[in-house]
């Protein structure tokens, strides 16, 4: 993925990430106070999953409530599958419980065009009828192509379209940081 990309800046280190995720977990716990028992965190593959797990761990530490964490693989719901190129790998969706009447909080690392979230919403609805669906993202980088907004945002980062936000988690990338990378301009 990081082919031909030049790193520009590191915007968050591991410590700052931990602090932001702790704050997001606090906001979620506050918003769902008294109803935490019916909240389910659903991480969007790949890096929404470690985010959901970290939020769940923070909420458990703060509130003593262990929230179930599900995994959504939105590949089969993408709107760009028929464009030229071999199919992306499908790794599967796993939801630990029925989502009927639950508050489902979709978790993803970066909110950009909103197309991933659109796909995730479509997939989620195939599994049942949640009471409410909310969105938690670590980075909101703008440039939406659909009317979608996040309920819980770690950090807003204004970017240009030639930039890429790279979120790394220890469990998926053996380092923990958020960087801005620059795509090569010459074509």
């Amino acid at each position: 993925m990081a082919k031909n990309l030049t790193p520009k800046t590191t915007i968050l280190d591991a410590k700052q990430m931990a602090r932001i995720i702790r704050r997001m977990a606090g906001e979620i716990a506050e918003r769902h106070h008294g109803n935490l028992g019916s909240v389910l965190l659903a991480g969007i593959r790949t890096r929404g999953v470690p985010l959901a797990e970290k939020i769940a761990a923070e909420i458990e530490r703060m509130e003593g409530a262990k929230l179930p964490v599900g995994i959504l693989d939105i590949t089969l719901y993408r709107d760009d599958l028929s464009t030229v190129g071999p199919q992306p790998q499908v790794k599967g969706t796993h939801l630990p419980r029925s989502i009927d009447d639950c508050a489902v909080i979709l978790c993803d690392d970066v909110l950009y065009t909103g197309r991933t979230v659109r796909a995730a919403l479509d997939e989620l609805i195939d599994f049942g009828r949640p009471r409410i669906v909310q969105l938690a993202v670590l980075i909101d980088r703008g440039h939406r192509e659909l009317p979608i907004q996040a309920d819980f945002v770690g950090k807003k980062v204004p970017t240009s379209q030639s930039e890429i936000i790279e979120v790394s988690f220890l469990s998926t990338d053996s380092t923990e940081q958020v960087r801005i990378l620059e795509r090569p301009t010459a074509k």
Partner: protein, 316 residues
């Protein structure tokens, strides 16, 4: 930083196992693993192949394979159209090439074909832009059956490499056995085939398998036993004196199973002839995974439809 790039599927068609690499086989099996969850949902449908058209051409009778493909297509939201032998233009004298060109004119995205003559899917694949999936060509190959068999074995044993697999019965008329031998050999399993000499073609040893002429020799220490249907309708000359005698020598019974490993699994591609190649007590017994094969067949075919539909002519 990023994990090693997984391989991508780049073939327009799936015509046989012989030409696949172990990595391609693994990609199909891993993808099928992800699709099997869809069959367990309340709403068993994903929008992935919305707007794609799939033609199911069955020039030979089939219940299981055809309905399995149809279900797989529907679960992926593809539109499907079924043709079968009776009533098709081939019966009215059209050549296969003309049929192919006419089908091409309808611009399907994928064509599933079963035909009594080996090589027909290959011919079709060369003539049309759509991806072609071989659903059985004569006694040549039946790749999706071998893949669903491998998927079922992997589910139970966790691996294919190092397993001893015995395949028994009417080897001569079986396309299932040929596809399975290719696949199991590539994945590092050890294959023994067994059956009456009259149904054992001479070229089999050249495929890199052991040949046994008694059931006991074939299944000794086997992790997996695959029974093949005795294709009574294809036995032009008498290959054995009677069904009763065949069952006495090559029918799988509980007593005979003792020679295999304690955790052996019994498979059959269907349709079964109870009392010919397999006893009911075995077919319905604790070692049988025959109905699981049918369930997994849908997941495997969904995976293949998915992978093939991502390959467009420009990228081939």
């Amino acid at each position: 930083m990023t994990p090693e790039t997984p391989i991508r599927w780049r073939r327009k068609d799936l015509l046989g196992i012989a030409e696949l690499s172990p990595a391609e086989i693994e990609l199909i099996l891993d993808t099928a693993e992800s699709f099997s969850e869809i069959g367990e949902r309340a709403i068993k449908k994903v929008p992935t192949l919305r707007g794609k058209t799939v033609l199911n051409l069955f020039f030979e009778a089939s219940t299981r394979t055809r309905s399995s493909f149809e279900i797989a297509e529907k679960r992926l939201s593809a539109d499907n159209i079924n043709f079968s032998t009776s009533g098709s233009s081939l019966e009215k004298g059209e050549t296969l090439v003309d049929t192919a060109l006419n089908l091409q004119a309808m611009a399907p995205d994928l064509v599933i074909i079963r035909h009594a003559h080996p090589g027909v899917p290959h011919m079709l694949a060369k003539r049309i832009k759509a991806g072609v999936i071989n659903a059985g060509d004569g006694a040549h190959e039946h790749p999706t059956q071998a893949l669903l068999d491998a998927f079922t074995i992997r589910r139970h044993k966790g691996r294919l490499a190092g397993l001893k697999v015995a395949i028994l019965g009417d080897i001569e008329h079986s396309r299932v056995v040929r596809s399975n031998i290719h696949l199991l050999n590539k994945m590092g399993a050890k294959v023994t085939i067994g059956g009456p000499r009259t149904l054992m073609p001479v070229e089999m040893e050249a495929m890199g398998v052991e040949v046994a002429y008694t059931l006991e020799d074939a299944i000794r220490d086997a992790d997996v036993i695959m029974m093949l249907r005795v294709q009574l309708e294809r036995l032009g000359r008498m290959a054995f004196p009677s069904v009763k005698e065949y069952f006495q020598l090559f029918g799988l019974t509980t007593a005979r199973l003792a020679a295999a490993r304690d955790d052996v699994i019994i498979m059959h591609p269907g349709p079964m002839n109870r009392g010919t190649e397999i006893a009911s007590e075995v077919a319905d017994g604790p070692y049988s995974v025959i109905l699981e094969q049918v369930t997994h067949g849908v997941s495997v075919r969904m995976a293949i439809l998915y992978l093939l539909s991502g390959v467009h002519e420009e990228t081939v």
